[in-house]
Amino acid sequence: MTTPTRTSPPVGPLEAVGSTLSLASRNITKLRKSPGAILDVTLQPLLMLFMFTLLFSGAIGGGDRDAYLQQLVPGLMVFSPLYVTIGTGVALCTDISKGFFDRLRSLPIARSAPLAGIVIGDVARYLVSVTVVLAVGTLMGFRVHTNPVAVLASVGLMITFGLCICWMAILVGILLDSPAAVPGVLIGAVMPLSFGSNVFAAADSMPGWVQVWVNVNPVTLMTDVNRALLLGEGQVMGPLLGGLVWMAGFVAVFFPLSMRAYRRRLGR
């Protein structure tokens, strides 16, 4: 047996960032070209926006459709990234099961780039999703009562929220063999987060035991932050602290689990 005759320099951090950005640009290409990719990140929140404003606001909002819309839009901006992460899980599972990740892993790029590319690339999807909800909401009569800086802060926070909670979807995308099975599993987690919140109805209209969950739900906390930022109602700092603790928790739990599952799945 001959001994190896050559060695190669390791992949540097700058090159890793470059590969990650190249891979992340896949999402931008898709959003630019395909209406399907845009629908994928906007359909769910827009449906909710229309349904709740036009159909249910009379019943839930006490008849004042406009006042209900003002409360709903900041909440749906939190709801959006949650649903975007379902697509993240599907996309990752597809990439792995179809062999696209094998192709990437056979290239001389950083080990972390394929996965990092997926996570970073989703910034574009969160951005489209959140801004479309805000824009369509505004067309329907939603009004920002604060200032542009607050709007930017709100959109930035929503993207950060998505980047933290997406690790749950990443884990599911790695663990499941079939992309078709991913949404079913994730809906199970996304439903209590999105509907068990104060996005669609005020917490004090619910039974006491439900309120216990609704009041600690990160979606409720982030909705409170968003309403404060966009409408100038209530405090930002209190709920933001709670939201940040949740986000850090999501990353602390699901990031290491995802890394372990990733190494296992690709090691076989």
Partner: protein, 322 residues
């Protein structure tokens, strides 16, 4: 000739199953090496180890001078991989896929696009280059995938069952591509379930079964390993077929198999000297013949003999012991 791929004692286990056990491979640069075996024989596991996608539990492998375990990035810099699945992003067009790979290989954006277009044109995909890959037929996908594995101008190319599920026309296109690449000096490791494919393309063949190497050699050597050759005779006049059959029976002690459509008689023989004896007897009996000859068994016959329990494998083991 320098070796492009060299592996020694490769082993891989998954929980209870042994996927690979004590596998050796030596592939000289610029040749096609066929890895032949039924489903589950360990072919894909071996390719994944050599492509650095999987770490072996034991053994060593050096590809193009780089150790697959200690220097995977070095290996990845010189290999191309085409898996059993078309490993492209199906939402993107072929040109976008190949440009992305070019970018990941640190080509400037414009160069990456030129390289993508050039390769897709080579593979007859110029017209379809801007369509999403999910709209492609099976053959087009396979060609696009093969093109993708060539963006970095690899010197070692792994083709893992590149023609499985393809129609004969697409399969011939893949074969032509492989021949073209080898002519350019690329080393190809090809796994296949099809004997004909290995026979057509490979300079040498390693036969896998149950995770181990059961035979290795040139295609004609493997065919010969099954022991003996096949005698074929076709009489010019159909009414003489029975006479020929009797002569063969007299010489070999075996009644030949008869093809009713053509009247061709075949019989396995161990001793090639038999051919001249047969010609004498046929002459004496005044039998004219259209065909007469000895041939090697087909790859199918060889493969069955090699992988069947107690077949050539047993013989090989005995030889090793001696």
């Amino acid at each position: 000739m320098p070796l492009a791929i060299e592996a020694e004692g490769l082993a891989k286990r998954y929980r209870e199953t042994t996927a690979l056990r004590d596998v050796d491979l030596a592939v000289p640069a610029g040749t096609v090496h066929g890895v032949l075996g039924p489903n589950g024989a360990g072919k894909t596991t071996a390719v994944r180890i050599l492509a650095t996608l999987l770490t072996p539990d034991a053994g060593r492998a050096v590809v193009g001078g780089y150790d697959v375990v200690r220097d995977p990035v070095g290996v990845r810099g010189i290999i191309g991989l085409t898996g059993q699945y078309a490993a492209l992003d199906e939402e993107l067009s072929a040109v976008e896929n190949l440009t992305l790979i070019g970018r990941l290989l640190r080509l400037p954006a414009a160069d990456a696009r030129v390289r993508a277009r050039e390769l897709l044109a080579d593979f007859g995909l110029a017209e379809a280059e801007s369509r999403p890959v999910k709209t492609y037929s099976g053959g087009m996908r396979r060609r696009a995938d093969l093109a993708a594995s060539l963006v970095g101008r690899p010197s070692v190319l792994y083709l893992d069952e590149p023609t499985t599920g393809l129609d004969p026309h697409s399969r011939n296109e893949v074969w032509d591509t492989v021949r073209r690449l080898v002519a350019d000096g690329v080393t190809v490791l090809l796994t296949t379930q099809y004997l004909e494919e290995a026979d057509q393309l490979a300079d040498r063949i390693t036969v896998f079964n149950h995770g181990t190497v059961v035979a290795e050699g040139r295609p004609d050597e493997l065919k010969r390993m099954t022991g003996g050759q096949t005698l074929e005779v076709r009489a010019a006049r159909r009414e003489q077929v029975d006479t020929v059959a009797e002569i063969i029976l007299g010489l070999t002690g075996q009644l030949p198999a008869r093809d009713e459509d053509t009247g061709r008689l075949t019989v396995p023989v161990q001793d090639p000297e038999l051919l001249s004896a047969l010609v004498h007897k046929l002459d004496a009996a005044e039998v004219a013949f259209d065909e007469l000859g000895l041939r090697l068994p087909t790859m199918d016959e060889a493969f069955l003999a090699i992988t069947s329990p107690g077949g050539v494998r047993a013989t090989l083991t005995e030889e090793k012991l001696r």
